[in-house]
């Protein structure tokens, strides 16, 4: 069962990633990107990490993809893209991709991933939270500062200049 789901998710993720690159229509491309990101969320579900999976859905599919969609809708494709495509470029791209994939695969295979015990229970997200508060607290503080800086920045950007006399 899990293998079938894994295969289906792989086909979905990789297929829609290729579609996102190859589609002529930018809108369909960004929809395909959404499918790819959703497929990654499916992998997280398979890995017993629903917390990460739901955040993947909420942040990547729900926000980043919307941002891309929104940007794509507001631009004219002809203005920013010029089609440069010939056979050599295509071959070089495919070759580069293959080299990259083979080297990354070799790295992963030679690392300690094969000795991992796959029967151990998944790590609860509460434990991760505890670790964040106890052991990794400086990282948490830095993240909090960055995020509050971002929110404050957004507020400053959204601020409306009060014109004299009106409002």
């Amino acid at each position: 069962m899990a293998d079938a789901v894994f295969l289906a998710l792989s086909v979905l993720t990789i297929g829609s990633a290729i579609a996102a690159l190859e589609m002529r229509s930018l809108i369909y491309g960004s929809i395909a990107l959404m499918g790819s990101l959703g497929g990654v969320a499916g992998f997280f579900f398979l890995l017993d990490a629903p917390f990460v999976a739901l955040f993947q859905l909420a942040v990547y599919v729900g926000s980043i993809a919307v941002l891309i969609l929104f940007t794509v809708m507001l631009v004219r494709r002809e203005l920013i893209f010029k089609k440069i495509e010939d056979r050599r470029r295509k071959m070089a791209g495919i070759g580069l991709l293959l080299v990259f994939l083979v080297s990354v695969g070799a790295l992963i295979m030679s690392s300690g991933i094969q000795q991992m015990d796959s029967d151990s229970p998944p790590i609860d997200f509460r434990e991760i939270g505890e670790d964040f508060l106890v052991y990794y607290w400086p990282a948490l503080v830095v993240m909090a500062l960055i995020l509050s800086g971002a929110v404050t920045g957004a507020l400053v950007l959204a601020r409306r200049e009060v014109e004299s006399g009106t409002n």
């Binding site: 959404m34 629903p50 739901l54 955040f55 859905l57 599919v61 729900g62 926000s63 919307v66 409306r160």
Partner: protein, 432 residues
Amino acid sequence: MSVIAPTFRLSYFLRSILDNVFWIIVLVTLVGIPAIQIVLFYIEMPVIDGELLTPFLALTWLADPSRAVPIIKALMYTDFFRIAVFPGFGLAALLAAGTIFVERKMLAKLQLRVGPFYCGKVEGILQLMGDGLKLISKEIIIPAKADKPIFWLAPVAFVGTAAAFVSLIPVAPGWVVADVDLGVLAVFAVIGFFPIVTILSAWSANSKFPFIGGIRALHQMISFEIPLILSLLGVVMLAGTMSLTGIVESQDFFPWIVFLPVGAIVFFICILAELERIPFDLPEAESEIVAGWLTEFSGMMYGLVQLGTYLKLYAFAALFTVMFLGGWSGPMLWPPFPEEIITDGIQLGPVTATIPGLPILDQAMLNGVLWFLLKTVAVIFFILLPRGVFPRIRIDMLLSLGWYKLIGLSFINIFIALALLYAGVLGPGGMI
């Protein structure tokens, strides 16, 4: 040649009735009974009198009524029943339909009009049915230069997303379609799909009014999602869990609105904005941009979008109930099932009928559903109410409200929750 009013002839009438009976018998034998058998085959059947009920025996409840109640009970505990009927789609669609009618009627009364009046003699209660029939029978028009696949898919995706949202809502103890351990996060993930569907449908219509409406809807939904998420964090902190069922169970003694009124108010305003209801109905501003992103939809496609909108309204009202009003918890109002019907049976003159398997639903569950529905309907009423009172606000006011005031207030709410937590008053290990 068609005739508007053909002359009535009894023989034709009888013949058509016989024709219908014939076809009904043929279809039931060839399709209906095999279909029931197939469905029963996949349902886990109960054991009655020490005998496992097979699909063949199950059909004998027509001859042996004592099997009827156990079969009904077994059906009610299947996943299909949960998804399609009770805590899932059926209940939500029923409430949504009721909401549409109550909204029209109440709005009319608020504005000293009559509202739906003629359909169904009594205060126009059949108006909804008439509207539905009209929508189904209307032609679906697709704009010539529309992007057809997305345009067809958008209403279906909208209803699907709303139904996914509905499936996360717990209605009574144990009565929820998907009891997710991370319910609140799942809600955020599902809410994130609404802007995508909206903007895609708006873009695919290839018309200016839907596009303007879609862009406005996108702005509004994205910017109000942030205070919406932040305002729920206080409840999550105090309840110490993200499961919606767990959050309801943490409100046995008092609802969180008592301690977190700021969060509740912020959440309510965000609900209004997410649902595009007046005073935040800029995406559908009918005096400026026809009907916003719904402009090009016609016939049943519009009906689907409308169904999705009201499913979403029910789901948000139910979420407010679950997070702030204590869900199904409340004093026991439902009368207990009379014992003597279980033990002695029902006496009808000389005949005594004992029915095994009663009661079908236990008292706690019925009471929970009663309280949940009461609270949810009250919240829906308060969501509908501003439509009769307020005008539409300007888009800059909308954005400054969302980005300034609501985010600030939701941070204040989080600090209140933190103070209560660290003072040891509430929360896991707190005084109360």
